[in-house]
Amino acid sequence: MLHEPSTPAGKDPAAPYKMRLGLRMFAIYAFFYAGFVAINVLSPLTMATIVFAGLNLATVYGVALIIGALFEALIYDVLCRRKEAEFARGEKPQGDPEQSAEGKA
């Protein structure tokens, strides 16, 4: 017997777009996170370089990763909402070759 979601989610025609967008944004963040870890492992003394207002690269990069996550999340939300609104209004979505695809739900 297959279970249904706790609340019926309904069809989400924007799901494929959101999934692709999410993967792209994840790849961008993962690139910067990997860069941070790589500098720590391969050239740890570089992290001591003063880069801004007396702060070193370790602090600036670390805080940037935290703030950057929120910044990217907000952009993701705006783009997702825009696409959801397009479908809600029944418009033909722009720039989405898989616009007719439905979400898995």
Binding site: L2, P5, T7, A15, K18, M25, A48, N56, I66, A73
Partner: protein, 632 residues
């Protein structure tokens, strides 16, 4: 004051649970709060779930003792939410019902997946529960003046009440309150730290006079250290491998330990603090321990931008960090050495070392990123587990089922990222504030943030301690809901297919919560003294190894089969736990030489996560021709 604030909070939380109890009469109400929680509330509740004892107590304590290396946990924990938002949030909400098992099993109806995922949920939840309960004991001891074990029992009893009365609904609102209060009062605390500024002689705002540790000149012969200063007699000396040489001096009838330091051929003895276990009890700094003779609080700046007597006054956040980053600033940090003295008495010495600011504010004091290839690999492994672990924690995943739709799941994750990210930036200031304000207990770094609060007065200490306690309550509640779901819903209802009506299912969940709560109390007492943050890091590694490959491949690889998922979960659990069990850190816990550990890594993720992915791919490819994937 602390007791009143604490009791008021506990009474309020239990009252709220009883009030919300009527929402827990159905399975959906008990496990998913009916799926009706607002995304904003759920986002802050996410923060409440996530900002556990490890975050508030452990990370602040780590930053206070090893500087930037503690902040690496903040960065890794927050980065994990990116995986949760971009990869997991909406698809998981569409797939799942109440538990992680429901989600991974949604397209298969496989008994193998049900069993493997339920076991994984239980294992990860218990790995995560242990440090929370240990943290509860650590907190309650100074707050209420009762033994740690009673603190663990108290937390367990309150949490069982919360979970058993109203399940996910009360857990959510407790988390919302706690998450919100934690962020607000941490901001207040950081504001107070910046208003006070930095000083080379911190006196807790005039409440505790700064203690200047003495230094004595000494000479050294081939075998003997001698002190020319009249009135001092050398009684014995101990060389501790990896630490320093310590000398026991008698002066005016008091026996105290001193650390030997050598600079450019000049020998100096530096005063330390010590705890000696004698037949008649503990002796602290040469005298019997008592209410008035305890270890002194420590941690200060020896130099601020090259000056030995300086006070910055109120300081901006950037200037605060810049002062501590300067190579001309020096922090007096504290280390621990253990040995048995010549009388056979167990002795612990706390001794200071001077660390330049540019060393404090870059990686390397804890994680040996400048060390061997293996040490760097260990660091890489930790950062990988932190990045991938968040999106695989069962008590985080079940929160996606408490909101009405996938868009709400997304929005609540963004609120969580904002709240958690802001808090993690605050941890840097709280940790460094504790490091430099002479508030640290040299024997236990976990209390850094509450003790920093105490230096600003009893009221903020009471509030911060009550919130810290609530932090433990909230996280343990979420973990017990997740674990009871694994037992009652995944195992009893879905794997064993025991016929139960809705009311019986809720009752089974509540009974499971009681049993798991009892187990948590027992484990919390058994594991007293373990490092809270280290244990949470391991829970992340187990979660990332066992659950994440299944979630990711299920969503993005169409050839994934039920057997592939079940196999990857089991391999992930077994591999990560085995690697942990034979790691150097665990060998130290067993009382063995860590160099004898067969696995040279402390963090298993770099091996166990790829192994789990490979297992899923190989088994799926081998079993993809099966006509019905639902028969695994």
């Amino acid at each position: 004051m602390a007791i009143i604030v604490f009791l008021a909070f506990v009474i309020f939380v239990i009252g709220l649970s009883l009030y919300l109890g009527n929402r827990a009469k159905t399975v959906s109400g008990y496990y998913a709060a009916g799926g009706k929680i607002h995304w904003g509330v759920n986002g802050i509740a996410f923060a409440g779930d996530y900002l556990s004892a490890a975050s508030f107590l452990g990370i602040c304590g780590l930053i206070a003792t090893v500087g930037y290396d503690g902040f690496l946990y903040s960065i890794g924990y927050l980065a994990g939410w990116v995986v949760a938002l971009f990869v997991v949030a909406e698809p998981l909400k569409r797939l799942g019902k109440y538990t992680f098992t429901d989600a991974v099993d949604a397209n298969y109806d496989s008994r193998g997946i049900k069993l493997a995922a339920a076991i994984s949920t239980l294992v990860v939840s218990i790995c995560y529960l242990i440090p929370q309960m240990v943290g509860a004991g650590v907190l309650v001891e100074p707050l209420l003046g009762i033994p740690q074990a009673w603190g663990v029992v108290m937390v367990g009893a309150v949490v069982i009440t919360i979970v058993a009365t109203a399940g996910m609904a009360s857990t959510t609102y407790v988390q919302f309150l706690k998450g919100g209060l934690l962020i607000i009062f941490s901001t207040v605390l950081v504001g107070a730290v910046l208003l006070r500024g930095l000083s080379t002689q911190p006196d807790q705002g005039g409440m505790a006079p700064f203690y200047e540790y003495a230094r004595l000149p000494a000479t050294i012969t081939e075998t003997q250290i001698e002190v020319p200063e009249p009135g001092y007699t050398v009684l014995e000396q101990q060389a501790v491998k990896g630490a320093a040489v310590f000398v026991l001096l008698r002066h005016e009838g008091l026996d105290t330990w001193w650390a030997v330091a050598e600079k450019e051929g000049v020998i100096t003895l530096n005063e330390t603090q010590s705890v000696v276990v004698k037949a008649d009890g503990q002796w602290i700094n040469g005298a019997p321990a008592s209410d008035t003779n305890q270890l002194r609080q420590v941690g200060n700046l020896e130099k601020i931008n090259g000056e030995t007597e300086a006070n910055t006054g109120s300081i901006s956040p950037l200037a605060f960090l810049a002062v501590l980053t300067s190579k001309d600033s020096t922090v007096q940090s504290w280390k621990t050495a253990n040995f048995v003295d010549s009388a056979g008495q167990k002795t612990t010495v706390y001794y200071s070392v001077l660390v330049p600011g540019d060393r404090i504010m870059r990686p390397g004091l804890k994680f040996k990123v400048e060390g061997t290839g293996l040490q760097r690999l260990d660091f890489l492994s930790l950062m990988l587990a932190l990045f991938l672990g968040t999106a695989a924690l069962p008590h985080i995943l079940i929160r996606y089922y408490t909101v009405p739709d996938p868009a709400s799941a997304r929005k609540s994750t963004i609120v969580a990222i904002a709240a958690i990210g802001f808090f993690y930036i605050l941890t840097l200031f709280m940790g460094l504030g504790a490091m430099t304000n002479a508030v640290l207990n040299p024997a236990d770094s976990n209390m850094a943030a509450p003790l920093l609060a105490r230096s600003f007065g009893q009221l903020i200490f009471a509030i911060i301690s009550a919130i810290a306690f609530a932090t433990v309550l909230g996280t343990v509640s979420g973990l017990i809901v997740a674990a009871s779901g694994a037992v009652a819903h995944d195992l009893f209802d879905r794997y064993l297919q025991i016929q139960m009506d809705d009311r019986q299912k809720v009752r089974a969940g509540k009974i499971s919560a009681f049993v798991i709560g009892g187990l948590a109390i027992l484990l919390g007492i058994l594991f007293q003294g373990l490092n809270v943050t280290f244990l949470v890091g391991l829970a992340f590694a187990v979660a990332a190894s066992a659950n994440l490959p299944a979630i990711v491949m299920l969503l993005f690889w169409k050839q994934t089969t039920a057997r592939g998922i079940a196999a990857s979960i089991i391999v992930g659990i077994v591999a990560s736990l085995t690697l942990i069990a034979f790691s150097p850190e665990l060998y130290t816990l067993y009382g063995k030489n860590p160099l004898d550990a067969p696995i040279p890594l402390n963090n298993p993720g770099i091996i166990s996560i790829p192994l789990s992915f490979i297992t899923l791919i190989v088994v799926s490819l081998l079993t993809r021709q099966k006509p019905t994937p639902a028969t695994a």
